[in-house]
């Protein structure tokens, strides 16, 4: 263990004394979080939704009323419903930007029947607004469809749906995933560099084992990753990000839980970096392959937005960030306890263990 610690300390010195490298590893997540935070922070917005109600039943009235009264976790109104007499007027208002979305309820609306009587269109250029409006409309119509008569359901809904309609919450998780994922590149390039420069061979002429060497790389990169995670959370907090939770203690616990998931993600990413380092012939190749993996991984694992295509959703499970995004969003955005995310945590742990084992086995074989 002393050898692993010595190697980790050596790696950290090498990383922290290279200012350009350090800038990339630490300033990049801070800058990204600043950009995301400044772009998406602010008080919860109330989105204007125009509607035309061509139905005369109590169902449509309840539907509109519930949309009007929907609130977020802080009991702020999410939607402001604006009635229009006809579809033409609604479309004009939408084109002029007076409303962010349009809702048309046809005659015969019945939430318990799939009779295609509701039309929703949103301003998709407003990612945050379109996401909030669509999810709210879908959630309420879905609830109305399952519960009949609807009033009974709403009477029992003492607790609001615990989702913070703040795009920043979503983006904090994305930024965190991105920051931690860059450790793949850092790990792969640093190990490949040691091989290219011959320092690995030199160390191998000492009693140090290959496992010691790779474990040293794992721990040092893990430390860097944890610093990145802390920086992302720190900047997000300064910009107003607050995790879900009723009390301050809940919020702190959830933040800590998210940190635990980030640690597991970092472990898995370092493992992936090891595997890339093993297969790459040199440092340049290791860097190229890392980014070739990181970029699609970001998109497919729902880092910047959830994907919906069924096949790609399955493919996404091949990436560690899919597990972490789901777990961290569950904890920070929906207030889920860490234990309820155990399947994702196990997934990440297994991922890290397999990647490290493959890395060690092949590295030993290839360097002889």
């Amino acid at each position: 263990m002393a050898t692993v610690i010595d190697l980790s300390v050596k790696n950290l010195k090498v990383i922290f004394r290279d200012k350009l490298y350090l800038f990339f590893l630490l300033a990049m997540p801070i800058m990204m979080m600043l950009m995301v935070g400044l772009a998406f922070r602010g008080e919860a917005t109330t989105y204007a939704v125009g509607y035309v109600n061509n139905d005369s039943s109590q169902f449509s009235e309840i539907f509109v009323e519930k949309l009007e009264n929907a609130t977020d976790w802080d009991l702020e109104d999410i939607l402001s419903m604006v009635q229009y007499d006809d579809t033409g007027s609604l479309k004009d208002a939408f084109r002029q930007g007076s409303v962010k979305a349009g809702l048309i309820i046809d005659d015969g609306y019945d939430p318990t029947k799939a009779n295609e009587t509701v039309t929703l269109f949103v301003d998709e250029t407003d990612i945050s607004g379109s996401w909030a409006i669509t999810s709210q409309v879908m959630t309420i119509s879905g609830i109305l469809a399952r519960e009949s008569p609807p009033k009974q359901y709403w009477k029992s809904l003492d607790e609001p749906i615990a989702v913070e309609f703040n795009m920043m919450n979503f983006m904090v998780v994305g930024t965190l995933s991105y920051a931690v994922s860059t450790i793949i590149f850092s790990t792969a390039s640093s190990i490949a560099k040691e091989r290219d420069k011959g320092t690995f061979s030199r160390l191998r002429t000492t009693p140090m084992s290959t496992v010691d060497f790779l474990a040293g790389g794992l721990f040092s990169n893990l430390v860097v990753s944890l610093i990145q995670t802390a920086l992302v959370f720190g900047v997000a907090y300064l910009l107003g990000f607050r995790p879900m939770g009723v009390t301050a203690m809940d919020k702190a616990v959830n933040m800590l839980a998210a940190f635990v998931v980030a640690v597991l993600l970092a472990l898995a990413c370092v493992g992936v970096g090891l595997v890339i380092a093993v297969f790459a012939k040199n440092e340049d190749q290791a860097v190229g392959v890392s980014w070739f993996l990181i970029i699609p991984m970001m998109f497919l694992s729902g880092t910047w937005g959830e994907i919906t295509e069924p096949t790609m959703m399955k493919v996404a499970w091949a990436f560690p960030t899919t597990y972490s995004n789901k777990a961290i969003r569950g904890i920070l955005v929906r207030g889920a306890p860490l234990a309820s995310m155990s399947n994702h945590l196990i997934g990440l742990g297994v991922y890290a263990a397999i990647a490290f084992a493959i890395g060690v086995l092949i590295y030993r074989k290839k360097t002889m």
Binding site: D6, V14, R17, G198, R202, R204, T206, P207
Partner: protein
């Protein structure tokens, strides 16, 4: 009791179809400074890498410090120090941290390591810059640092792969003195080089390797004796060389004659005083003699004698 520090047994390494080291056998006595000579790509570094357990042999094996390279790598790593061909130091660490790192890998106790590090840094003139990052060092300083990193754990066997490659003459002399001091301390030193004068100056015994095979092995004096005592006369020439070579070989005082690129290399007793006879014989044989250079017989001449090629 191990008689030899190193013994190889048909040691062979192939890379695909290329045989880099071809059934090599040699023995290095304890406390000997043993030189491994040959041109670039001859197989020196590949042999050293196998002996340091960095490369697995394709065939054969070797013993280093009594340990088998195939089965007892752990034992070997404890008793060797290696200074690789390329300078392999961590540029972002200080000189002291680089030496300490290797010491820590060998689990040298802290106090002892500090003392040893200070001593070695002083020996090679790096004490004043010991706490500067290596990125600020000159090439010669890095090479000296590289050398002491191989010595921090006081190993009985040292592998120095081209230890003076690319160094200016002054720094090379510092390294030579340091290597000679190692011999005085009874270390076994295996040194590869393609500087013939370096092997001539430093080594107790040398082996010459070419195309993966050892083509000669002895002490420098004996090797020079075998290829012929005397002066070396190199003549630039133009015209047919075959007749000239034959005629020159017929001269009684001439030991060997070989053609190397655009030069005739003649090794002859009292060659300098008989320069007139040599030129006259060559001219009569139909060649036009250009510039002439003469010197005492060296290991490089032995390589030429053995292979018909120049080393560099």
């Amino acid at each position: 009791m191990v008689e030899y520090a190193i013994e190889t047994f048909e040691l062979t390494r192939k890379f695909g179809d290329i045989v880099a080291v071809d059934h090599v056998n040699f023995k290095v006595r304890k406390g000997e400074l043993w030189g491994f000579l040959g041109p670039n790509g001859a197989g020196k570094t590949t042999t050293i890498r196998m002996l340091c357990c960095l490369l697995t042999p394709t065939e054969g094996t070797a013993k280093v410090g009594g340990y088998d390279i195939q089965k007892e790598a752990g034992g070997i790593r404890k008793c060797i120090g290696v200074c690789p061909q390329e300078t392999t130091v961590y540029e972002r660490l200080t000189g002291r941290e680089n030496v300490n790192l290797i010491g820590k890998m060998h689990k040298i106790p802290k106090g002892e390591l500090k003392k040893k590090t200070d001593e070695l840094l002083e020996d090679v003139g790096l004490a004043e810059r010991a706490d500067d990052q290596v990125v600020t060092y000159s090439g010669g300083m890095k090479r000296r640092l590289d050398l002491i990193m191989a010595l921090v754990h006081d190993p009985p066997i040292l592998f120095l792969d081209e230890p003076t490659l690319g160094l200016d003459p002054a720094v090379r002399r510092v390294v030579w003195d340091f290597i000679l001091e190692l011999r005085e301390r009874k270390k076994t030193v295996i040194m590869t080089t393609h500087y013939m004068e370096e092997a001539d100056e430093l080594c107790d015994r040398v082996a010459i390797i070419d195309y993966g095979k050892i083509i000669a092995e002895d002490n420098p004096g004996n090797l020079k004796e075998k290829s012929g005592k005397g002066d070396v006369v190199e003549m630039e020439f133009s015209g047919p060389a075959d007749i000239a070579i034959k005629e020159l070989r017929n001269l009684k005082f001439v030991k060997t004659v070989s053609k190397v690129e655009d030069r005739l290399v003649v090794i002859a007793e009292a060659g300098v005083s008989r320069l007139g006879d040599i030129i006259e014989t060559a001219t009569k044989a139909g060649v036009k003699v250009g510039r002439i250079h003469h010197q005492e017989n060296t290991l490089e001449d032995i390589f030429i004698h053995l292979t018909g090629r120049k080393l560099r």
